[in-house]
Structure formats: C-alpha cells, structure tokens
C-alpha cells in the first residue's frame, strides 16, 4: 500500500507548488553548473579554435589573452626563419565597443593574415572566409549582422562576407575577423583631428630644438606618427616531424620572446583569468546545493509533522517502523526526483536565452542528480527521526 502517494494525492496542489519551488532552485543549480562550464568554454574558445602549434608573444608576457603583448609586425618573418617552422602568422586580438547599426555592441576583433589563414574563422555557417586584403569581415551570428551588411568600423565600411556560430571571445562576446591591416587600422588608427593634434604637440616639442628648421620640424612630426604595424602574437604552424620543444626553445633564446603551446595557453587561461570566476561559481554551486538540501529537509519535516497524528495511529495499529520510514523517504525521493526533472526540463528549454553561455554537460547533470538525490534522503532524516520517535499514545490524546 503506497501511503506516500495517497498522501501526496490528497495534497497535490501543495506538492506541485513545492516541486515548482524546489525545482526552480535546482534550475539555478543546473544553470550555475552550465555557467561554470560555459565560463571555461568561453574562456578557452578562441584558444582552442585558433589552435596553432605555438603562440609567440612579447617576452615575459602571458599574452595574448591573459595579458597585453605587443610585438612589431615584422617579427613573424624572424619566427618564420627558425628551423622547423612551416608558417608564422601575425595575429592581433582586441576588444571593442562600437555601434553596429544603431546599437552599441561589445565584441572582439581578430586580425590575421588572410593569405596564410592561421587564426582565421573556423565555424562558418554561411558565406565564405576573407579573400581580400581589405574591407571584408566575417562575424559571429551573435553580433546580429547578416551577409552583405555594411558595417562601419573606424574610418571605413566593411562588408560581411561570412557568418560563424560559436566564435566567441573570452567574455562570451562575438568575434569579428578582419584582415591584419584592417584590424590594425581599426585598433590603432587615430581620428584625423587627433592625428593633427598629436602632430601639433610633437612639432611644438621639436620647435625647441635649434638644429631643426621649421620645414624639417614639420617633416619629422609627420614621420614620427604613431606606429600602427603592431601585433599581439605570432601563430606558428610547425613542419611535419618538427620538435615542438626544440623550436620553442630556439625562438625563446634566439629572438628573446615568450613561447607557449596551445595546452600551455589553456593552462595560463585556467589558472589566470578564469580561476577567480571559476572558484566563485563553484562556491555558489555548493551553497545552492546546501540551500536546496536544507529546504527539502524543512519541507519534508513540515509534511511529516502535519501527519504526525496519522503516524501515531499507524504505530498504534501496529505498523512496523519500515512502513513509517518508507512513507517519509518515498515522499522525500518523489519530491527530489520530480523537482529535479522539472529543473532539467526547464533549463534545457531556457538555457539559450541566458546572456552568458550555459553549457549543459550530461555528466554534470548526473552528478547533480546523485548529489540532490542523496541530499534529499539526508534531508529527510530530520522528519524521519521525528516520525520514529512519535509515541502511538499521541493518537489517543498525547500521553
């Protein structure tokens, strides 16, 4: 005789409300799991999608994602000359906030060598990659642009020739791919008025030099304009059979640069930029789990206390303890399982609406289920103890 089900049938409205309440809590737990995974996924997405054999960055820098690294563009020629290197491609990456249409959007720009292709877009869902050296762009669909759209960045208009899916930066914002010179221009090219102002400021400084004529001063000020031929990293593709460690060692010692493999870049990201947020999310997850177990515990305790007299009657009639234990535990398990299924359904229907990436991993869901299931059983101990110590005399007026 399934007493738990009969009891819940009588109080089905309240039971459903409780399932929804606890289920929403579990939904937050699952969302936190997804956010935790999504945070790691977003943080590593660019690194994994680019996936060169080596990342060459400014010496002593943990760039290009964890720390700013600035190299002269020419460096890729030097890297290319190292034995074992097949391709060495300049790479630039920076985050911008610009108007797309009439909306201000946050996104990251990657500039790469269109003709070697290393560092370019990976997951094209429509259109094509960059073919021209200028005025074309590939954007992630998350940016909200369409094929053929003209997007103004800096001084020029760029035509969207391709769209990607899942190409996101370390913050989960969409990526835009430009040719290296275009990306450099968008990043470093000053506004004309600002260029003029800088020249005037420089000329004023040079005017103090008696050795310079006014004409020479003007020429020098123009020539000393800020350099835009800068990159953040050089991406290296090795020749087949080349020794990765040896090539990295040679680049370090010959060119005085820092070199990381893709795995090392991943570790840098996990230990650096992602570490704090990952720990924070893990802590939230743990706290939410504890809160869920406490709430289930209180719900089951309340359910048990409401039928304490019925439990006393059962004991008086001679019901063994296992009948009482089954009643309480079954309700706890039904509540936990139903709430978890509700949460699982809800998060799977809604995860795509979250502003940050929610990455649902079946393994996480199984582990969460096991934790909440046993947490639910643990939570019912309070109600169970109360039920087991109930005296049958309570049925006759509380002796």
């Amino acid at each position: 005789m399934d007493l738990a089900v009969y009891d819940l049938k009588l109080h089905k409205g309240r039971f459903i409300a409780t399932i929804i309440g606890v289920g929403l809590l579990f939904t937050i737990v699952l969302a936190m799991n997804g956010l935790y995974r999504g945070n790691i996924y977003e943080g590593l997405a660019v690194i994994k999608a680019t996936n060169p054999d080596l990342w060459v960055v400014e010496r002593y820098r943990g760039g290009p994602f964890n720390e700013q690294s600035t190299l002269a563009e020419d460096y890729h020629h030097s890297v290319k000359a190292v034995p074992g290197v097949e391709k060495a491609c300049p790479f630039i990456y920076y985050t911008v906030e610009r108007l797309i249409g009439d909306q201000s959007r946050h996104f990251s720009i990657i500039g790469y060598d269109v003709f070697t292709g290393l560092g370019g877009p990976q997951r094209l869902i429509s259109g094509r990659g960059l073919r021209q050296g200028h005025y074309e762009m590939v954007a992630d669909q998350k940016l909200g642009v369409h094929l053929g759209d003209q997007v103004t960045l800096g001084l020029h208009h760029y035509t969207v020739v391709g769209l990607t899916r899942g190409a996101i930066d370390t913050n989960g914002d969409p990526l835009v791919f430009l040719s290296l010179p275009d990306a450099q221009e968008v990043a470093f090219q000053k506004d004309n008025e600002e260029v003029r102002t800088q020249r005037v400021r420089l000329a004023r400084t040079l005017n103090g030099q008696k050795a310079l004529t006014p004409a020479a001063t003007a020429n020098l000020a123009a020539a000393l304009a800020p350099d835009t031929h800068l990159i953040n990293a050089v991406l290296v593709h090795l020749k087949p059979g080349a020794n990765q460690a040896a090539v990295a060692h040679n680049i370090r010692t010959w060119l005085y640069l820092s070199v990381y493999t893709t795995d090392e870049e991943v570790k840098l990201m996990l230990k650096g930029r992602l570490a704090g947020m990952t720990k924070q999310l893990f802590l939230f997850r743990t706290l939410l789990m504890i809160v869920s177990v406490v709430i289930i515990s209180l719900v089951i305790y309340t359910f048990t206390m409401e039928k304490i007299r019925a439990i006393a009657v059962m004991k008086l009639i001679g019901a063994p303890n296992r009948v009482i234990v089954r009643l309480v535990l079954e309700q706890s398990m039904l509540l936990t399982i139903s709430a978890f299924l509700f949460a699982l359904g809800l998060i799977n229907q809604t995860y795509s609406y979250f502003p940050k990436t929610i990455l649902l991993v079946p393994g996480d869901e199984v582990i969460t289920f096991i934790v909440v299931f046993f947490g639910g059983i643990l939570a019912s101990i309070l109600g169970l103890l109360q039920a087991l110590k109930t005296q049958p005399a309570l049925a006759l007026g509380g002796q």
């Binding site: 009639i317 001679g318 049925a395 006759l396």
Partner: protein, 230 residues
C-alpha cells in the same frame, strides 16, 4: 477462554514531588466474547489503563498475560514479544476521535491493517467490502474521511478495528463525539461483534447510558478499580 489477564498493574508518571500514581494495583481478567465497560470521570486513569493493557505505555509494575502469553512483567520484562506485531495481528483499536488516516479513503483505511499482516489482492478487497457492508457503509467506501459524517467515520473505524479478527478490541470513548442515538448504535454494534466474533471488548466511557447489556462494568477512580458489577 481467557484473552487478557492483568495482575497488580500500576502506572506512575514523574517522580518525587511531581509523582502521579495513575493506576494502582489493577487486577482484571477478560475472556473471549466478554463485553467490559470501564467507567470513570475524566482523569481517573481509564485511557492510561487501556494504553498499559496494549503496552502502548509501559506499566510501572504488574503483569499482563495476553492470549496465553506473558507480554509484560514487573521491571519491564516482556519475554521478547514483538508487541507491535501482537497489536496488528490480535488487537483492534477504536478511538474517540475516530483517528482515521486522513489521506486514505474508507476502503483504504480498512485495508491498511490487512496490508500490515500481508493480506493482499482480491481476498483483502473482499474482506474490506464485507466489513464495510457489515457496518452499512459500503456505499461510502471510496470517500475520504473528511467527506464522511462523524457516525460514518466511527463505523469505518470499527470496521478497521475488526479487519484482522482481533482477539481483543480496545475502545476509548467510542461514543463521545456522537449523539445519543448514534452512540447507542455503535454500542449495539460492539455487543454484536463481541458475541458473533468471540472477541473480548473493553470499552472506556464516562457515559453510563451507553453500557446497557455489558457483561462487566468496572469503575475506575483515582487509579483504583473500585466496583465490579455483573
């Protein structure tokens, strides 16, 4: 045939200045088919005696023999008997407040003690409907207790108490929440059960109008069994 024998039973609550002697040296013998009434004012120890007789409360002293088996002796010795098993197999309880399990229908309430002794399937369903029919409440079998009147609930409670053909039925103020007419009907029913089923029935009441036709009437006052009337 002797069903219950109580010898020198005492029950003391608390100790020192707070000590309350609820029962003092109670002796009682009840045989199969006996209809016994325990009368007394509130606080006289009637319910305590019922609770001690069924070992829901442990007596302080004395000896209880049930169905030929010593289930309690002085100092708490009970001969290793499983008292809950005895209660579910050989005792039936009827309460003043009916005490039906609120989330079970009338049918399920009667089925519950049967399920505890392992009676399942058609046999148990037949037994339930037979009892509800006997109590003239079969048409309300699928109603929850909250939808039944007080009298109907009490009849379901009696059907539940009878489910396992108990050797002893203990009824605590079974008519207290009923009007006189319904109360008398319940008492008539208990008499009928005692005679037809050869069950021993002990009824606690403070209403002398309800005990007409009982075999034995005991008067309990301040924990002492004062009178015995045949």
């Amino acid at each position: 045939m002797e069903v219950l024998r109580i010898e020198g039973l005492s029950k003391v609550f608390g100790s020192g200045r707070l000590e309350v002697r609820a029962l003092e040296d109670i002796n009682l013998t009840v045989s199969a088919g006996d209809l016994v009434a325990l009368l007394g004012p509130s606080g006289s120890g009637k319910t305590t005696m019922l609770l001690c007789a069924s070992l829901i409360l442990d007596p302080t002293a004395g000896k209880i023999i049930f169905d030929g088996q010593t289930i309690f002796q002085k100092n708490g010795w009970s001969g290793g008997v499983d008292i809950r098993r005895i209660r579910r197999e050989k005792m039936g309880f009827i309460f003043q407040a009916h005490n039906l399990i609120p989330f079970l229908t009338a049918r399920q309430n009667v089925l519950f003690p049967l399920s505890l002794v392992g009676l399942k399937g058609d046999a148990s369903q037949r037994r339930v409907m037979e009892l509800l029919g006997y109590m003239e409440i079969a048409d309300r079998a699928d109603y929850l207790p909250a939808l039944l009147s007080g009298g109907e609930q009490q009849r379901v409670a009696i059907a539940r108490a009878l489910a396992n053909n108990p050797r002893l039925i203990l009824a605590d103020e079974p008519t207290a929440s009923l009007d006189t007419v319904r109360g008398k009907k319940v008492m008539e029913l208990l008499k009928k059960i005692a005679k037809e089923n050869q069950s021993a029935v002990i009824v606690v009441t403070h209403d002398v109008r309800m005990i007409e036709g009982f075999d034995y009437v005991y008067h309990l006052k301040d924990g002492h069994l004062h009178h015995q009337v045949n």
